[in-house]
Amino acid sequence: MPEILDQARKQVLENGVGLDEAGVLAVLNLPDEHLPAALQLAHEVRMRWCGPEVEVEGIVSLKTGGCPEDCHFCSQSGLFTSPVRSVLLDIPSLVKAAKQTAATGATEFCIVAAVRGPDARLMKQLREGVAAIRAEVDIQIAASLGMLSQEQVDELVDMGVHRYNHNLETCRSYFPNVVTTHSWEERWETLRMVRESGMEVCCGGILGLGETVEQRAEFAAQLASLDPHEVPLNFLNPRPGTPLGDRPVVEGKDALRAIAAFRLAMPRTILRYAGGRELTLGDLGTREGLLGGINAVIVGNYLTTLGRPATDDLALLDDLKMPVKALSATL
């Protein structure tokens, strides 16, 4: 057994203290033959500190495309020659999407907009949308609208948005290679305000942007210091027309190593499978991740790409004897 896994067994599994950056790096550098042991330990940590439930979420794009920012992985930036066009979702369709999501057994519905930050019109649309969903659908509502002002944070709390997603995307040292129109620190500032407001903080990122293994470890440590309620883990799905459109996808084993390492850095967080898992891990890898530290999934489609059918994921959870977290358990 590699020393780092012995250390993690005592420190993380028994005492609930996450690995630091050096520890995460050691896990990310484990040779293939020790990957099963790392995943097994990460799974034990998840079971011990989070329990067997899996949180299921659906997401929908309220405003697609035409974003003024230049995140190099994103097909929704208006600055690249991506084929994604701007489109707005109307409120009846938003409510229908929430109903479809709730029908899968999901307890979370995240409303996302491709913007630097929301303007008054978007906030009004969101307020109406959230009210319409709450009138008809029993589901918790999260939002992801970019960078916020303090007033907007307060407004979201007032609307009843219970969790806010704002991804740091990658570590601080690599961020300027991925985004030039705003800074990592600006994102951090929004996260700070969200945390202070009492909303749950959801913050993750994308692996495979060209960061080094050391930078992946740096990212895990920075996320751990934020201590988010939820960490969505995406794997780059290279989008045509974007600066990262020709990058290779993350290798399945590296993705699994990252899942185990992020879990060992953050024993209590909700670690969610987000975009790119179909491409990077396929069906087998998806299963291995759920047995290696993941305890939440996005079901159904993503914002501009499609996922596998929710029924496939639910059947997998059933097969793994992992109960879907119920609404009553989350309130």
């Binding site: 697609t64 066009r85 489109v87 999501t101 489609n301 499609l306």
Partner: protein
């Protein structure tokens, strides 16, 4: 109105005899982006279940 599919609905290039195997594979996990009849970029809304893509000239597709 033409009904032949002249353009690849993923990359917007001419739909040749080869049939764009990479585009076809990618389309399993992506909605169409270009109208196959006129090559216009469509307005595409992805929903948790399904998607809708609209061309101003050729109307709406759902999947």
């Amino acid at each position: 109105m033409t009904t032949t599919r002249v353009w690849c609905d993923r990359c917007g290039e001419p739909a040749d005899a080869g049939g764009h195997p990479a585009c076809r594979a990618a389309r399993e996990l992506e909605p169409p982006r270009f109208c196959a009849h006129c090559r216009r970029r469509m307005k595409v809304q992805v929903l948790p279940v399904g998607w809708a893509a609209a061309c101003v000239e050729h109307g709406e597709l759902r999947g």
